[in-house]
């Protein structure tokens, strides 16, 4: 294989993945006073997951690829947490040490089908200003974010989501965060600037085929497990009413 072919192969793989990610349901994460809120809309399988004591994950892509990455993250975190200490399991180590090189290897292998994957990882800290977010790409590249993070298959969608998420100057209460996250998800799903639709109308349409999945990674956890999926009763008051 010549260098030219190799580059072409990578480009083709990237095009293949990005094409499939375009239709994926975006993922939102936002620091609230009570903890980190992760939110998406799903049609089938669960999409928001607990990784370790202070870590959660969501993403878009093929379900089997999300599952493979999730298992790798959970395995790494628990082996490390047991061998050393739960305090030594950090988002930086899970994404930077365990996942990124594995994704890079997988993507660079010309004989392997690339993972259709875009992941969002969150780590809750004692104060919202210190919460950490990592976006991990299908090729192993990752970026660090604070206060909020958005993952979407369309770049324009991600930018619009970040505009919504950057509105609050301080970490909002959970109820306000839920409304912001729903709005951010909707603009990430479809550009409302082009259609002129109200976000509530668009979300209402989307929810005819999907359901909101949201989880809170609690900041001050009295219980062992900080992660909890929000029940429908907590989400419903913020959903647009169907006309």
């Amino acid at each position: 294989m010549t260098p030219y072919n190799w580059q072409q192969t990578l480009r083709q793989k990237a095009d293949y993945v990005e094409d499939r990610l375009k239709e994926g349901s975006p993922v939102v994460a936002l620091s609230a006073q009570e903890g980190i809120l992760l939110l998406t809309v799903r049609r089938g399988q669960r999409k928001v997951f607990e990784i370790y004591d202070r870590l959660a994950f969501s993403g878009l892509g093929n379900q089997s690829d999300l599952e493979a990455v999730r298992q790798l993250a959970v395995d790494f975190a628990h082996a490390e947490g047991f061998q050393r200490s739960p305090d030594d399991v950090s988002i930086q180590r899970v994404v930077g040490v365990a996942l990124s090189p594995a994704l890079k290897r997988s993507f660079s292998d010309p004989l392997r089908l690339p993972l259709v994957f875009l992941g969002l990882f969150a780590q809750v800290e004692p104060t919202p200003e210190d919460d950490l977010y990592y976006l991990l790409n299908y090729d192993g590249e990752f970026s660090l974010h604070q206060r909020y993070a958005a993952a979407a298959g369309r770049e324009a969608g991600r930018i619009e989501m970040e505009q919504v998420l950057s509105e609050p100057k301080r970490a909002p209460k959970l109820e306000a965060a839920l409304e912001i996250a729903l709005r951010a998800w909707t603009v990430g799903r479809a550009s409302l600037k082009e259609s002129g639709e109200r976000w509530e109308e668009r979300l209402s349409q989307e929810l005819q085929q999907g359901r909101v999945e949201a989880a809170l990674l609690e900041r001050d956890a009295r219980r062992d497990r900080r992660f909890r999926l929000l029940p429908e009763s907590e989400i419903k008051p913020f959903l647009p009413r169907r006309s």
Partner: protein
């Protein structure tokens, strides 16, 4: 991203990654008399009307020496399960750390909670792993597991032998050097007063603290309630709770005045 034979099993994961558990080497000299491992002594579990109460003194010994007077022998395995440990502190604390991780690992990787039966079996497996060391005379420990059973809506107490055989107790459980000496007193309370499971928390706590103090008067390795406040935790439908120092201190005063 390889597949393992036993999904959700922490022991398999550690073995696959070359992480050793337990870390205490089973291949010890035949008579390791020079090693005096630190032992936790008396732990007690009794039922009450809302769940299970665990009480333990704070003493850890090494041979004839008092090694530590602030030992915590009642540990939370998860939000619905307590373990009280007597015997080798090194092995027991590592086993507890393993169990805590094992339950969480199962729940997070399999996306469902481990059943109570699964958790109890995991404790048996851990005891089996510690057995080679225990047979060499070092590293053995005996746990009492207290759990709130959400299906039956009641607290349950389980105790084990050193090989991992599990038994369920209707009313109470105790382990450690002071436990055998007070076993008759438990029976006396159940027959003459009333079953522990019918008692309110404060009444059950008073009986358990008195039993601990009796154990201390009969066993040098048990510190009882006289010098230091013991530790006391409950597991109920609301999860695990540590009892307040004020409540313990009030009952300590009352019992020592008897």
């Amino acid at each position: 991203m390889s597949e393992r034979k036993s999904p959700g099993d922490l022991m398999s994961l550690l073995e696959a990654q070359g992480i050793r558990f337990p870390t205490v080497d089973a291949d010890l000299p035949k008579n390791p008399a020079s090693v005096a491992d630190v032992h936790g002594t008396t732990v007690i579990a009794v039922k009450f009307d809302q769940g299970v109460l665990n009480v333990a003194d704070r003493r850890a010994t090494a041979g004839n020496a008092i090694f530590y007077e602030e030992a915590e022998k009642i540990l939370k395995l998860d939000d619905e399960t307590l373990i009280a440990i007597a015997g080798s502190y090194a092995t027991a604390s590592e086993a507890v750390r393993f169990l805590q991780h094992s339950f969480k690992y199962y729940a997070r990787s399999q996306l469902q909670e481990m059943s109570l039966e699964g958790k109890l079996h995991e404790v048996s497996r851990v005891l089996g792993r510690a057995l080679p060391g225990a047979l060499q005379g070092i590293g053995g420990f005996l746990p009492i597991v207290s759990a709130f059973d959400r299906e039956k809506r009641e607290g349950r107490i389980f105790f084990y032998d050193a090989m991992g055989a599990r038994f369920e107790s209707r009313e109470f459980g105790a382990a450690g050097s002071g436990a055998e000496r007070i076993r008759g007193a438990f029976e006396y309370i159940v027959r003459i007063k009333r079953p522990f499971r019918q008692m309110k928390l404060e009444e059950a706590l008073r009986e358990a603290l008195l039993l601990l103090e009796i154990a201390a008067s009969l066993d040098t390795a048990t510190s009882g309630i006289r010098q230091r406040l013991p530790s006391a935790k409950t597991v109920t439908a609301d999860g695990v709770q540590e009892l307040s120092e004020d409540l313990l201190r009030a009952l300590q005063r009352e019992l020592l005045a008897l």
